[in-house]
Amino acid sequence: MQITLTLNDKKLTADVAPDTLLIDFVRSHGCLSVKRGCETSNCGLCTVFLDDKPVLSCSVLAARADGHKVTTLEGLQDEAAEFGAFIADQGAEQCGFCNPGFIMNALALFREKEYPTDEEIKEYLSGNLCRCSGYEGQLRGIRNFLAWKKAKKETAE
């Protein structure tokens, strides 16, 4: 079947099988940041935005994205680099395999809530597993990023 969607701001028409999962679709269209870590919707590695909401691309049919907007980390490179630098400054990226999903969901959090508390951060990101970092370094990186963002905004005002 044919679907038309907006992938990272580009309109795209493609033939897909009815059971093609969105993760496989976006990977086959060059969005290799999107990773698969499980088959049971538990790990968060495959997080993409569907109409700007973070979802697990392993659990969505590509067909369901027909007529919708899909965003992966490939479409958010500037934001990823800006925020990711704070993770890198903690050494918390470690093996990196969970990073794209984690960073996608963190960016979703920042869009929903400008300055989340530690508890809000943890709860929002609870569906993003990481086996390397122990999460503490990621939290430090997020806190530092938020502080930097706040300072930048205050300076601008």
Partner: protein, 765 residues
């Protein structure tokens, strides 16, 4: 120091956080053959017949291989990534007619896409002769049912194994008269401690891509910690010359020891070797959970004797280790359960350490961060905590009385001298960090909630003494930038960066002036691989030696250009100049250019390092928990730890190693369980059932360092990667004991166990 002990960003950090395609499945051609495995539904069975004719007719299927394609009387092999001759027995065939655990490989299917391969897998008809399995490891030794009855089972090393007894390894050692000492002790703590076959659960599952290169050789791109061992393992499994195999690794998505075993490499290798076509195998998470290489389940019977004053006098430790269906890392992990726990109390008068490693029809165990030390330290540290409670002593005080110090001889650590140790300072630091005096042992918060604290200590090694080999090659390129070639594998740990930091320190250059490449069996200098906490200490020292030698080569060529003797020049990282007159100089860039134009002094050096010692890093950890005594739920409020890893080469990365290891230890203590049903089916077969900690499961984790200086390590460094997983087990267990007064000897400690223990005490059940 300019570069060492500085928190540099990892060299690959920005590539990783922006999601660049650097992992195996991001790099391989989309149209390669898809390989999947048909796995046994039986824990112990013989494949009576297997019919692949119909499955082979599925459009798109390229090949299906079964035991009939693998000579059953040929030499067996091990998938353990260890130095040859491996301690692990040669007990595998690539496909064995005798399947020995639920998940053992019955057939390999290769086809053009997932769909056709999935279809073909369903169409293979297998008739099994189902045999009774050995599922209880207590009954494995000398059981009439043999996991490996075959005659071509082979043990290359004298580890005490005997396949006709289901025995993978056995040993006994000791010092002093342990029975007499224990008989003379005022108190003997005597218990059996049980830890499960926990999974590394790295986020990237096992995966390998294979192709045939220009020279007709098998090229293997694998997510592995051990490229050189993998080359041998693949050649052994396929019975082809090692010269025909090349193994490289891309960025690895985590390993933690899992990828120290060639769990998946041989299958696509076989497909590509036979079909001459590129192929890839990516394990599902389920396969990574049920047919991989988890921690060895161990049961440790410990008798620990002490005097009333708290002086620990003797430890008698018997470990029963379950290696599962195959012996990968079986004979070696078990050793650490004693050799890396007993030495914490090296002032004891006597010790005895005995073990059996048995075969069962569970999935094969393997290497997981901590490698047996984790299991042993849970037993020993729990026993010392129990001793403290029994003697009404503070657990910190009893440690202060008994711990090993720098300069002590450690009889249970092969008689080695403790060359660097700040364990005493780590104790003091953690005591302060957690505010022990205020919190110990418990505080009743009302509403059935009790807060309590507990602690534990740990040690590990730094590489395998007298065995592990690390190497580095450094070369000077155009304009004077350096390339560092290594055979160690950065699996997220950051060794590409930390090793470059060591080189930059010696070469007095910026970190950006060094590029790193690893690992490739064709081009990297030999390295045992990244395991056994060896990379910083062993390969790091090789890098230091290599950089020093390269400096002298730079000076040699610089002197030639300056027309003087190399003894008369110095190098400051930028220029070579004469000591007498520093204005007479030549820049590194010009030296680099000269090395490629009309000169024959090589600016390329390879150095290798081996260490007769394995200096232990040390750690102390303390946990504060809040227990809901009615529901049994445990909140880990805080975990404080202090590590002695010698000089941290990169303090950011050592900290994150520690935090990550602690979290894995927390998971092992509280939630990560592995159980089998009566048929031998593993129950925790997904991340839905096997619960690794999420970020809402833990409170604060804080890590500090008390640096010793290890004279044998690069710039005083020891290891960090493994020691960090060990302390949560005894610390959290003891905190729970302090909360409810019941001590648990088996992990994980679930809410059910806690609530039922409390209810039983209160007579409420």
């Amino acid at each position: 120091m300019n570069t060492v002990n500085k928190p540099f960003r990892k060299k690959d950090a920005m590539q990783l956080v922006t999601g660049q395609p650097v992992y195996m499945d991001d790099l391989v051609p989309a149209d390669c053959l898809i390989v999947k495995l048909l796995r046994s539904p039986h824990a112990n069975a013989i494949v009576k017949s297997i019919n692949t004719a119909v499955a082979k007719k599925v459009p798109g299927i390229e090949a299906i291989f079964t035991w009939e394609d693998v000579p059953q009387d040929a030499r067996r092999y091990t998938q353990a990534g260890q130095t040859y001759p491996e301690a692990s027995p040669y007990d595998r065939l690539l496909i064995d007619r005798h399947v020995r655990f639920v998940g053992d490989v019955v057939a390999i299917v290769a086809g053009k896409d997932d769909k056709c391969v999935d279809k073909a897998l369903k169409m293979i008809k297998v008739e099994y002769e189902v045999l009774e399995p050995v599922l209880d490891y207590h009954t494995a030794k000398d059981n009439p049912i043999l996991v490996h009855p075959e005659d071509n089972w082979e043990s290359l090393c004298p580890v005490g194994g005997d396949n006709k007894r289901n025995l993978c390894a056995h040993d006994e050692c000791g010092s002093g008269d342990i029975d007499a000492v224990l008989a003379d002790c005022d108190v003997v703590i005597d218990h059996v401690y049980h830890t499960k076959a926990c999974q590394q659960a790295m986020m990237e599952t096992f995966r390998t891509y294979c192709s045939i290169d220009l020279y007709g050789r098998l090229n293997v791109l694998s997510s592995t910690q051990i490229v050189f061992h993998a080359r041998r393992i693949i050649a052994n499994a396929l019975h082809i010359p090692k010269s025909m195999v090349r193994v490289t690794k891309p960025r690895i998505g985590g390993g933690f020891g899992a990828k120290q075993t060639a769990v998946c490499e041989v299958y696509p290798a076989f497909v590509t070797w036979k079909t001459r076509k590129p192929s890839k195998l990516i394990f599902t998470r389920e396969e990574s959970q049920i047919a991989s290489t988890p921690r060895h389940e161990m049961e440790i019977h410990l008798r620990l004797g002490a005097n009333k004053d708290g002086r620990i006098r003797g430890l008698d430790l018997y470990t029963l280790s379950n290696t599962g269906a195959y012996g990968e890392h079986g004979p070696t992990t078990v050793g650490l359960s004693g050799h890396k726990s007993i030495p914490l109390y090296s002032n004891a008068e006597a010790f005895r350490f005995t073990y059996d490693v048995v075969y069962t029809n569970h999935m094969s165990a393997g290497a997981y961060r901590g490698y047996g030390a984790t299991q042993g330290l849970f037993a020993v540290e729990s026993a010392v905590n129990e001793l403290a409670a029994k003697l009404h002593m503070d657990p910190f005080k009893i440690r202060e009385m008994n711990i090993v110090h720098e300069g002590d001889v450690m009889p249970a650590y092969y008689g080695a001298v403790n060359t660097s140790c700040t364990l005493d300072r780590c104790l003091a630091k953690v005591h302060e960090m957690i505010n022990w005096n205020e919190k110990y042992p418990r505080r009743d918060m009302g509403n059935g909630k009790i807060r309590a604290v507990g602690m534990g200590m740990a040690m590990q090694g730094s590489g395998i003494s007298g065995m592990d080999v690390g190497s580095a090659t450094l070369k000077v390129n155009d304009e004077g930038f350096y390339t560092l070639l290594i055979g160690a594998a950065d699996m997220g740990t950051g060794c590409d960066t930390t090793l470059a930091q060591i080189a930059a320190e010696v070469l007095e250059c910026g970190l950006d002036n060094i590029t790193v490449f690893g690992a490739d069996t064709d081009t990297s200098p030999y390295d045992s691989g990244s395991y056994a906490s060896s990379t910083t200490y062993i390969t790091g020292k090789a890098v230091e030696k290599c950089a020093l030698k390269l400096r002298s080569q730079i000076c040699k060529l610089g002197a030639q250009l300056l027309d003087c003797s190399e003894n008369d020049v110095e190098f400051d990282g930028k220029t070579v100049f004469t000591s007498a007159d520093p204005s007479k100089s030549v820049s590194l860039g010009d030296i680099a250019t000269a090395s490629m134009f009309g000169h024959d002094i090589p600016l390329e050096v390879t150095e290798t390092h081996m260490s007769p010692l394995s200096p232990p890093p040390y750690m102390v950890g303390a946990a504060e928990v809040e227990v809901d005594t009615e529901t049994g739920e445990v909140k880990l409020l805080e975990f404080d730890a202090c590590v002695d890893c010698g000089t941290p080469i990169n303090p950011n990365l050592t900290r994150v190693q520690a935090e990550g290891g602690i979290l894995q230890g927390i998971g092992m203590t509280l939630t990560e369980n592995v159980t089998y049903d009566q048929r031998g089916w593993p129950m925790e077969n997904s991340l839905m059932q096997y619960k690794i900690p999420t970020r809402v499961d833990v409170g604060k984790v804080r890590v500090e360092f008390e640096n010793s200086y290890e004279p044998n390590g690069p710039f005083g460094a020891k290891s960090i990667g493994e020691v960090v997983i060990n302390t949560p087990l005894p610390a959290i267990s003891d905190a729970i004991y302090n909360a409810i007064g019941t001590r648990f000897y088996e992990l994980p400690i679930t809410p059910e166990k806690i609530a039922m223990a409390v209810a039983e005490k209160e007579g409420a059940v």
